[in-house]
């Protein structure tokens, strides 16, 4: 963060630092120079005093000569001479070496050593004059000097004073020059610093303004870009803050997708609550809160998004599907917002649904219906039976245990023959719905065979095609039944009539074949409450039971008479609703009943059991044998019994109905099959 800040403001920071550095250096130099200038002032002052002192020395010497000539006391002049000489000497020394000397005001002051070569030369020249001068002056500073000594020094002073004065003058000039230079340099530095600071300020201002303008332009550009993006994206896009409010900007399509008014900073949850069910809303709320929480791992919870495809209530009540996606937006490592993307996936969902629906739907078109109407009802029923048989055969073969490649190839060929047969019949009857389907089926089979290898996967395909065929068969059968029923009057009545007639016709035919006399009493009124599919199942089950009743139950008329029964046997067929959706279907004959002994004999005769085994069976177990495949007590095979197919089929049909069978029988009195089932 501080680095970011530094980068952003680096020019201003650098500029301020430069300003401070410049200012401090100039200030430092100023202080230094002021100090130097103060020193120079002392030097100039003292070097001026040297001029004066050299003059005064000469003057005192001359005054001493005058004193001697007129004979006054020399004491005052000698005192002054000592003072002046000492001052001059120490000051000169100060110029040469730097030392504390007596200042103009009598106080001690530090005199700096001269700095320039010129000044050093002047001081050195001054010493050349001053050293002999001082030697000559020495006797005068002690009491009792001679006139010669005074004259000697005065003479020296006369000849050298001007030179010394000139040197001191030169020194003053030189010191003044140095001081001036110093002042000039200081001023130059001050002006330079000022100019530099000014320049620095100008540069900084320029850079800052340029950056600000650039920043503004970038901001404007960024905002424009954001707006363009939000204006053009096809999704609803918005940010959600920690208080679950919408951000200030969102994509243009958002209100349209949500089918709701949306405003910046609007709370999101109430919108959601209006749209989805309570359960989904609660989950979604929890989910959003989880995402704002730091604990859960975003990538490990996205699978739980309850809004990834959700049915929502639109404003106009029409429901549509939306898909919401939430992504965390991090700022400085903290979750600041959730970026929410919303898409309307209604079309996608509906399209998928429609596609699925179209695939499985059995479409029966008007022209097919017309074709069916023009087809003879008996022929049609025959055809539908054939189709049903063919499909059952295919399915039976599919169940085959053998899964070798060769067996599958055989199976394929077999299925192809059946399908081809159906196609031919359908074409002959002009029932296009079957013809087309069988044709498509056949084509797929040919394709499978042409691959040279029939795989287990192909069997799944065949099964699906078979199921589709069954479905078409069911719908056509349904239509055929309705048409048969709509011949006149009430459809239920018609059905009941057909059902009863079929029972009576069948019994009459079998009885005729067997030269028996049988009357049928039907009480089947409740059968019309059952779905036709179930009633038809009952019908085919009934056929089997009636065959058995006539063949095995009812005795020959003579036999009946001997037993004291009416010569005409009676079979009752009843269907009764005995409870809520619970039915009983009964087939009862007043024939010879089931002989346990007879069954035992047949079991032994057929070699199914040994005599001992047969005897060992309980009565119930013997009765159960009736329902096993392959058992038939009829002496010879004819078209109504004796094929070893009979009660086993009944048992299976009952199982399909999920019914319960009660078998009651009394020898020489009756046999009753009672099937109880719920629909």
């Amino acid at each position: 963060m501080s680095w970011e800040l530094f980068r952003k403001y680096r020019w201003i920071i650098i500029s301020v630092l430069i300003f401070l550095a410049t200012d401090l250096s100039v200030l430092g130099y100023n202080i230094y120079s002021s100090f130097k200038i103060a020193e120079s002032a002392v030097s100039i002052n003292l070097s001026g005093r040297q001029r004066m002192l050299s003059q005064r020395t000469t003057k005192v010497l001359l005054s001493l000569q005058d004193d001697a000539r007129v004979g006054v006391s020399q004491e005052a002049d000698l005192k002054e001479l000592a003072l002046v000489v000492n001052l001059f000497d120490t000051t000169l020394k100060g110029f040469r070496d730097g030392d504390t000397v007596t200042g103009g005001d009598g106080k001690p002051v530090f005199l700096v050593q001269v700095e320039t070569d010129e000044a050093r030369r002047i001081v050195s020249d001054a010493y050349e004059i001053w050293n002999p001068y001082l030697t000559k002056l020495q006797p005068l500073l002690k009491p009792g000097f001679s006139d010669t000594e005074l004259t000697d020094v005065t003479t020296y002073a006369r000849s050298n004073n001007l030179k010394l004065l000139g040197l001191m003058n030169d020194l003053t000039t030189d010191l003044e020059k140095t001081a001036n230079q110093r002042a000039l340099r200081l001023r130059a530095v001050q002006i330079g610093g000022l100019v530099f600071v000014l320049f620095n300020v100008l540069v900084t201002v320029f850079i800052s303004i340029r950056d600000l303008m650039r920043g503004d332009r970038a901001l404007v550009k960024a905002r424009k870009e954001t707006e363009e993006i939000l204006g053009t994206v096809k999704e609803g896009l918005f940010l959600l803050d920690r208080e679950h409010r919408l951000g200030s900007q969102y994509s243009q399509l958002l209100p349209e997708i949500l089918q709701r008014e949306v405003a910046p900073e609007m709370p999101f949850l109430p919108i959601l609550e209006e749209m989805v069910s309570k359960e989904v809303y609660d989950s979604a709320k929890d989910y959003i809160e989880l995402l704002f929480g730091e604990r859960v791992k975003e990538s490990l919870v996205t699978a739980l998004n309850p809004l990834s495809q959700v049915e929502v209530r639109g404003k106009e009540g029409a429901s549509h599907y939306l898909s919401f996606h939430f992504n965390r937006v991090l700022e400085e490592g903290k979750i600041a917002h959730l970026l929410v993307t919303v898409q309307d996936v209604t079309d996608l969902v509906q399209l998928t649904e429609q596609l699925e629906a179209a695939k499985g739907q059995s479409r029966v078109e008007v022209e097919v219906l017309l074709k069916l109407l023009s087809t003879d009802a008996g022929v049609l029923r025959q055809f539908l039976d054939n189709v049903g048989n063919g499909l059952a055969q295919i399915n039976e073969r599919l169940r085959s245990e053998d899964d070798s490649e060769l067996a599958r190839l055989h199976l394929l060929n077999h299925i192809m023959r059946i399908v081809h047969g159906i196609k031919g019949e359908a074409a002959a009857l002009g029932i296009e719905i079957f013809e087309d389907y069988a044709h498509g089926f056949e084509k797929e089979l040919v394709e499978m065979r042409s691959k040279g290898e029939v795989r287990g996967e192909d069997m799944v395909r065949i099964t699906v095609l078979l199921d589709g065929f069954y479905e078409r068969l069911a719908s056509i059968t349904n239509i055929a039944e309705k048409m048969a029923g709509s011949g006149g009057g009430d459809a239920d009545e018609k059905y009941l009539q057909t059902f009863t007639e079929s029972v009576q016709n069948l019994v009459a035919r079998i009885a005729g074949d067997a030269q028996k006399e049988v009357s049928v009493v039907c009480d089947l009124a409740d059968i019309v409450h059952l779905p036709r599919r179930v009633a038809n199942e009952l019908n085919s089950l009934c056929i089997q039971l009636l065959r058995n009743a006539v063949k095995h139950g009812i005795e020959m008329p003579e036999e009946r008479e001997t037993l004291g029964k009416p010569a005409v046997g009676e079979i009752r067929v009843e269907c009764r609703e005995v409870g809520r959706d619970e039915y009983e279907f009964i087939v009862r004959d007043d024939g010879r009943g089931i002989s346990v002994k007879g069954i035992r004999e047949v079991l032994v005769q057929k070699g199914l059991l040994s005599k001992e085994e047969a005897e060992a069976l309980s009565v119930d177990a013997v009765m159960l044998k009736l329902f096993e495949p392959g058992f038939s007590t009829a002496k010879e095979a004819d078209r109504d019994a004796g094929h070893g197919v009979g009660l086993d089929v009944v048992a299976e049909k009952i199982m399909q109905l999920r019914g319960q069978l009660t078998l009651n029988s009394k020898v020489q009195t009756f046999t009753e099959f009672k099937i109880r089932f719920t629909y």
Binding site: S283, D286, V296, K297, L300
Partner: protein, 121 residues
């Protein structure tokens, strides 16, 4: 890092255990396997694991309740819910009660390894 496996299916337990030998999870060590919530609580106190894989549908104490109890014992523990549950609301509840992530059953070895790596990051 110590891992506790909580699942009522022994198959799943052994499968997770087997996947733990993946070279990308060198620092992970199984410290216990529990087949219900009560067992999980006991093993948790004994072994103090850092990570827990948690089934949701279990006898006795279910996964949501167990997640809540474990989080109360140690708020830092990383609980990864591993469930075939189609009911998202229950899974979200477990996350609210302290779990950190969710993985659908069935999972591939790869998916589990990635989920655990994410949990440890």
């Amino acid at each position: 890092m110590k891992l506790l496996i909580v699942d009522d299916s022994s198959i799943i337990r052994s499968r997770i255990a087997r996947i733990m030998s993946d070279p990308r999870l060198p620092s992970l060590m199984i410290v216990g396997m529990a087949k219900n919530g009560a067992e999980a609580m006991e093993l948790f106190s004994q072994t103090q694991p850092d990570l827990v894989t948690m089934d949701l549908t279990m006898p006795e104490m279910d996964g949501v309740e167990c997640t809540e109890s474990l989080s109360k014992l140690n708020g830092d523990v990383g609980i990864l819910v591993v469930s075939a549950l189609s009911d998202k609301a229950t899974a979200i509840k477990a996350l609210k009660k302290g779990a950190k992530g969710f993985l659908y059953k069935p999972f591939t070895d790869e998916q589990l390894v990635n989920a655990l790596l994410e949990m440890m990051s």
